[in-house]
Symmetry: D2
Subunit: 366 residues, 4 copies
């Protein structure tokens, strides 16, 4: 399983399974001189961990991060940061049935097809717990981006049929509602919907939106490493994400050019756009306006209804999943979206420092 | 502009601008022993080139490919294939206005912001002509995939408000309708709509769908190099693509788990799925069913109406674009979607050959 | 400090400083199905650790490896293996002087120049302890290579003026002599020489040789990823290595073609070579004969004589290094050479599985 | 044959065989704004081409470079530079014998073993002509390095038993002697030696040295991407190179620490070294002094004596090589060493721009 490394200059490698001893991430290429504590990382991990609200699983995962290397006198040294989270509360007994059956909507079957067998405890490497390493690394990237004036705000836009009302957008609510919706009213309605899903032994999908402010124009490498293409991959790399929309997204396909083009104008000596249908990219590079994109998340595949499936012996069977599972993936994935966005943008910004001869000459000052 | 290289094992590097001397691609990592002629590549390039129908620009680009290296006695040698297409019909005079103005919906402004200046002739590197190298490389990947039983079928699903009727799906029509729609009736209606757009000096967006059959289960590397994530990046790397949907895509976000999960069953000793809401991936790996995804394309940004914009001197100006431009990008992008899909899948299949100890032992037979 | 990741398919990322909490390595791309225990790894780490003989520092580093992920039911799962070694016996007080001075022959000054400051405790990331992660990963690669019939034998060829006598080559002695020499007599003489160096508050350099048997022809990618070029980088990446010789090495520059060429002949239906001046590579690929190369290691830079240097304040000062330091680096580096050779060869062998169209067709059996 | 791409940020991909239509290189990641003409590149290619002196083959290869993309108004645009050299004087008839036989000292056999067959005309991809692409790319890197005050001087130090006298070092002679020796007297003696080799139907090896001045301290990424390790790989990637020595090289293995350590001192406010045994690197990073390393090159394997070998049918045969071959590889490889050094250093310098948080904050100025 190569594929656990992400980024070219600011490069992370995650490791760990749901029910192994620990999971973590190595960050290589973090610039030296960043003040960094475990608390800086813990606040993001705490937003991902379960057991906090009525709509997330009552599993207790303390998810305490430990920095094992790369810090000296409170600052990053430029050497790899190794971050580890011990697994503490795994109860393997809950997962015994899935050893032999392929759960619908889960990765059990492709894992067996590819590797010959799998660590079936809690989904192993395909568990949502895998994202803990991403969030820990993202916390570091977010701290760096913040220092250069870039803010990344991700939030829940919809759960099932319930969408937020942008006229009631309240950024503070993202951190206080159990749904991570920036609209307390919509959040309450979404909670009701999720209760209904739970009663029906069912689950719900939803939509996460992300807004990036402060990004200069020109970030992203044209052709294959476009900013929007890189974000799309980052987002689809999060388990359960099934669609990505940049700016107007699917709506652009129904538009005419006269509707979709964003007119430029000057404001205080800066190039601005009158609208932002593009979502802040042109030709795969940031265009100086806010980045805006959406991510569509499928419903939790672990539902408590009986489901038809097959087992490893090639027999048709019925599976009834037990255990503790969130009725919706979205709220806990919001911080993962934020983290992956930070990792993607920071890496492209660092690559951008080599784009012009004048930058190189200025840097080496001769 | 690093970012012109794509793939890890089957690796391509494209180069060239719209109005330079030539453009092309180097393919490194192509297995030795594949019979290959220029004609194998030319048939795909011919599907991308303009001037063929009433809905594409009357520009003539002959787009003749020349294989410069990597072939001996009619077969690939394992060394890099260098494919070149000379630019022959560029008329720079058409493009003089854009030297100083930033066209709305185009990459002019970010290019200047990043690099300090740009080759403004015909859009330079951000021109759709850049995709010729991808299509040429894709032709080689498609030939290899075909030899191992994998078929990739891309087609136009919608142009503006006109969608195909899946009950009238006619694969042959993809190559015969000017829209690349597999439904001649819908294609005729789409042509009418495009005529209307052109009369209004406007343009239209649309949707491309892609179906991959014959792919074994287990392709894709979990975590960051997921099959669907890699496809998302491949698709968003195509200029003008604004959204990507895997399987049910955005619909999944509105679904319940009981609707979205695909039940497994056995058929003739093989694991099958009763439905394919997932679009053929689970946990980022192929699940043995058909891959299916959609790509949403924005309308051609070059429209003939006056548009507000700014120039390099920071003045608000009005631009009126001249020249020859397709009223819709979609039909010529269909073969680009097919090519990028082939490049992505082949590379992941080659990486997959290392997934198991038993494969390694069998290969080195000791 | 990007640069902590090595390999393309079998890819490792090391982390950790001499005096941090721990150090370790993540192995991504290890094939699934390899039986693996901590003991498999520990035997190699034990060969690297200090405090074992009169010629190595009396520091005690227990270097116990812990496997944190990637194993299930005793076998690798294909997911990342995370291996950690806790630092247990570091005494920071020994290293206080070097906080402000640049030790001659050490990386102190370039670290400050590059990163602005450094973790000076025990050399931080530039300590020889950094190689523990490489050795742990190498142990896994060695187990895989062994399973496909490839053996890697590294040993000390010379320490200062004392060289082994190839007529007395005794492979078993590599593991029993304190010098890792395959010649007990030479080893005894080398020990005497090292005693003499120690009395003179000085240190010695030496030479490590490495022999690889069982490697099939064709391993290595021509041009930039040549087998010998990759080995050269692997070896020079080990701290203190100053020269690399493939086969006859420097002698080849003094030879004539008639002396240096290795004649081919047939033996039992196989292509063989009458001599092996090339050291087992031609055109950057293995030629089916044994690989043979040498690595030249500089003397331990930490010597106990007073040395002229400068401090961080830009003053000329005299430094007298205290503490516990090996009088020669070579013996403990032997297992590092073996590990880096294994990692390099295995990665190239895995890439080689994609070289031919017929391999691809055979693998996907259609 | 993946392995034709070199570098991470300043990234090149070479292609082409000895007797194909053309060969060339794509440079991706070249900063925008560099003035560049074909003449800038041609002067380096002219130093590599044969037929110029009595000690090089009388083959005529005009090696005219054509820039196909990436330049606008005389400057690089930041998009890929595609450089092509048409093959013009190849006479395939000279090479018919080697189609079936494996030439000793050549890559014929490993190519067949790896790929199943090979382009045998003139050595195909393993021909020395492959380096033309490297030299063309190196010319661009050299121009950039020159603009930031870095000079790379490569020269012939020895041919067979004839070495230069450093007391007579004359830099200008490198470009005027047929041997590229910076010592006209030694060059004359080397020419005599080569004549003698030719009369004996034999060939000679030799040594190339390289000196880099003006490099700031801190270049190179510790651990696996060390500056010296990267240079070692770059050098061994040049066909026929069999050994690499950094600074004192093999001599370091025979030295004591007190001899090998370079003492630091202050000079005009800068950190300097009293000696340079290290060759300008410490801990894999530049230490602010000159880089110095040596490369040992084997004798031309194409000699005109009868040689024992085998053919593709597995028969023992005798081969007598015909045609035109240099009696020594060294002089024409000098510019290749210079080019590969430039490519390696520039790429590491560009990566270095991301090493510190303060660089990032200064670059994005907020």
């Amino acid at each position: 399983m190569a594929g656990s490394t992400y980024g070219t200059v600011f490069q992370i490698t995650t490791w760990g399974e749901s029910h192994g001893k620990a999971l973590g991430v190595v960050i290589d290429g973090c610039p030296a001189g960043l003040p960094l504590t475990e608390e800086d990382i813990q606040i993001y991990l705490d937003r991902r961990k379960p057991g906090q609200t009525s709509i997330s699983t009552p599993r207790k995962e303390s998810d305490q991060v430990e920095i094992l290397s790369g810090i000296f006198e409170g600052k990053t040294t430029g050497t790899p940061l190794s971050l580890m989270i011990r697994n503490t509360s795994q109860k393997s007994s809950d997962y015994s049935q899935i050893a032999s059956c392929y759960r619908p909507g889960h990765a059990d079957y492709p894992f067996d097809a590819k590797y010959g067998f799998r660590d079936y405890r809690g989904g192993g490497r395909s568990s949502g717990r895998e994202t803990a390493g991403r969030v820990a690394a993202g916390a570091v990237a977010l701290k760096i981006l913040s220092a250069i004036g870039i803010d990344i705000c991700a939030y829940t836009e919809a759960i099932g049929p319930v969408s937020i009302d942008y006229d009631r957008f309240d950024k503070a609510a993202i951190l206080t509602t159990p749904t991570c919706m920036p609209d307390a009213g919509a959040s309450a309605r979404a909670e009701s919907y999720l209760k209904e899903c739970q009663l029906a032994k069912d689950s719900s999908g939803g939509v996460i939106a992300c807004l990036v402010t402060g990004l200069p124009a020109g970030i992203g490498e044209p052709v294959f490493e476009k900013l929007d293409a890189s974000l799309a991959k980052a987002m689809l790399s999060i388990g359960a994400v099934k669609a990505f929309e940049m700016g107007d997204g699917t709506l652009a396909a129904k538009s005419r050019g006269s509707e979709n083009n964003d007119a430029f104008f000057m404001e205080n000596g800066a190039v601005r756009k009158k609208t932002n249908h593009s979502g802040g990219t042109l030709g795969g590079m940031s265009d100086g306006s806010d980045l805006f994109f959406k991510v569509h998340v499928k419903p939790t595949p672990s539902i408590f209804q009986p489901q038809d499936t097959v087992n490893r012996d090639g027999e048709n069977v019925t599976i009834e999943i037990k255990g503790r599972h969130d009725p919706v993936i979205v709220p806990r994935a919001v911080v993962v979206v934020q983290a992956m966005t930070a990792l993607t943008i920071l890496d492209l910004m660092m690559l951008n420092m080599n784009a012009r001869m004048e930058y190189l000459e200025r840097f080496y000052r001769r």
